[in-house]
């Protein structure tokens, strides 16, 4: 009995150690066979989640460290690259942000969030050619998402490719016929084609859906101005200014319409406030 009680602690320690070894073997085996994440993948996710929390609290420098730690554990973790890009952008390190997004799409070619952010980053840099290519990837991955088509359309519009933009807006409107952002942008395409009647029709539809859509009221003012209807244009600009009294495109539009109507004093009133 005495000798048994003497070796009992050793048996216990051995059992615990054996159990731990078995667990480690099982988990690595599971990871290798695709049954669950490995400890380093778990660590990468944990650090990414921590970084995301810090990032939403506005602690971008600390968040960046977490994302770096996450990527050290797992350099092919696309989400961490995307989140890292977000923090870099918040810290105004735009080149580093874009580089992170490129890493993200290399790590996961089907990561829609990465392509979307990359399209935005390239667009912000004025590199519409590559932004358009990124947006094309985005709509290939997530073709049922109206926002993806809108994004692609907007990039095409910024590139000056209005016919391609219109096709993209049509895809977005097919998904949601009341999608006011796409309807508004499509109206700009109609204005580009000098089809002011179609533009006005689309803009009226947007304003029925949302009477406070200041961009639509302003564009309506421009369409009326193109038709020589300055009084109507002034009313439309005023409608936009009801929503946002300091909206420069509406103020500039109204000022010019007033000058065209010979109402110089009212135009000057706007000029000194612009």
């Amino acid at each position: 009995m005495r000798s048994l009680s003497a070796i009992l602690p050793f048996i216990f320690i051995g059992a615990v150690a054996g159990g731990l070894c078995l667990e480690a073997l099982c988990s690595s085996g599971a990871a290798a066979s695709g049954f669950g994440p490995s400890p380093w993948q778990e660590a990468a996710r944990y650090m990414d989640r921590l970084g995301a929390k810090l990032s939403s609290a506005g602690e971008h420098a600390a968040a960046l460290e977490c994302f770096n730690e996450s990527l050290e554990q797992n350099s092919s973790y696309a989400d961490a690259w995307v989140h890292r890009a977000g923090s870099e952008k918040a810290l105004k390190n735009y080149n580093a942000s874009r580089a992170s997004l490129q890493k993200a799409v290399e790590a996961d070619r089907r990561n829609a969030a990465a392509w979307s952010a990359l399209a935005d980053a390239l667009s912000m840099e004025g590199d519409y050619e590559n932004a358009s290519a990124a947006a094309a990837e985005l709509v290939r991955i997530d073709a049922k998402n109206k926002a993806c088509w809108l994004k692609k359309g907007n990039i095409e519009q910024m590139r000056g490719n209005f016919s391609a933009a219109e096709a993209d807006y049509n895809r977005a409107i097919d998904i949601d016929p009341k999608y006011k952002d796409a309807l508004y942008r499509k109206a700009l395409c109609a204005l580009h084609d000098n089809d002011t009647d179609q533009a006005l029709e689309l803009l009226d539809l947007v304003l029925t859906l949302d009477p406070k859509y200041k961009q639509a009221s302003t564009a309506k003012g421009l369409a009326l101005q193109a038709q020589g209807e300055y009084e109507g244009a002034v009313k439309s600009f005023d409608k936009a200014l009801e929503t946002d009294a300091r909206w420069t495109p509406a103020l500039a539009g109204k000022m010019n319409a007033l000058l065209a109507l010979g109402r110089d004093r009212e135009a000057a009133d706007i000029l000194i406030r612009l």
Partner: protein, 263 residues
């Protein structure tokens, strides 16, 4: 006798101490007022405007004649958008010193923030009367009169500024706007031209000149001027909007929308 002498010495010492206290008391209060004002300014710099007001109040309590604390308090109230409160503070400051420029300037800004341009113009006139040799005072008066819609009287204020400095761009530009408002675009154009000879990159004058050409149907010249204004300040959206409108007037819708969609 010794006791009497001792008592006399004691009384003299006490009297001297009392005299010193009476003499130093206002100095100490002044020092404290200055200290609290400094604390207030520190809080203001840290954007803790409510805290800064509490410090300025303490400073004013210590020394009601300490005008700087009142002016700093008015500024902190404006930062909190308490414009009526700031007006009261500036008024109180002016009761201490009627000639204090910063109090008048703060008062003008507070009235302007409340869109009360008639009172703002009144305050600007008072400031200009106190310091007629400062061109900025004439300009401020003119600007408030313009905001009130009195373009004719504003013109006289700008003339006052230009008597002090004939090359004062800001006053020349505002004079041109007054002339435009009064239906004298040719004269306005002449003034804008004068500004551009002084400073070819004065963006307001370039844009203003573009507007005059646009109103006269001279679209080519207008577009060129808006383009120039955009080059001077690429982040300024106003000339881009004007450029798009100039192109719309020419029915060059495709070019107009390329600019407009990117604004």
């Amino acid at each position: 006798m010794v006791l009497y002498r001792k008592m006399n010495m004691k009384s003299a010492a006490m009297l001297s101490a009392l005299f010193l206290i009476i003499l130093l008391y206002p100095v100490c209060l002044g020092e404290e007022a200055d200290y609290y004002d400094w604390k207030g300014l520190k809080a203001y710099d840290a954007k803790n405007y409510s805290d800064s007001i509490a410090w300025f109040d303490k400073s004013i309590e210590m020394d009601p004649g300490y005008i700087d604390a009142r002016i700093h308090k008015g500024r902190a109230q404006r930062a909190l958008k308490d414009y009526n409160g700031s007006i009261d503070t500036y008024m109180a400051a002016l009761q201490v010193d009627r000639l204090k420029r910063d109090a008048w300037s703060g008062l003008i800004e507070s009235y302007a923030a409340l869109n009360n341009y008639s009172q703002a113009a009144e305050a600007a006139r008072s400031l200009r009367e106190i310091e007629p040799a400062r061109k900025e005072n004439w300009l401020a008066e003119g600007n408030m009169l313009q905001m009130e819609g009195d373009y004719q009287e504003a013109l006289e204020s700008y003339e006052g500024a230009l008597r002090i400095d004939p090359q004062y761009k800001e006053a020349l530009y505002r004079k041109a706007v007054s002339l435009l408002a009064l239906g004298r675009p040719e004269e306005a154009e002449g003034i804008l031209d004068q500004i551009l000879k002084i400073d070819a990159r004065y963006k307001l004058a370039i844009n203003g000149m573009g507007l005059i050409h646009l109103a006269q149907g001279e679209y080519g010249e207008a577009s060129e001027l808006f383009e120039n204004a955009s080059q001077v300040d690429p982040a300024w959206s106003q000339p881009k909007c004007n450029m798009a409108i100039s192109l719309i007037e020419q029915q060059r819708m495709d070019e107009a929308m390329k600019i407009y969609a990117a604004i």
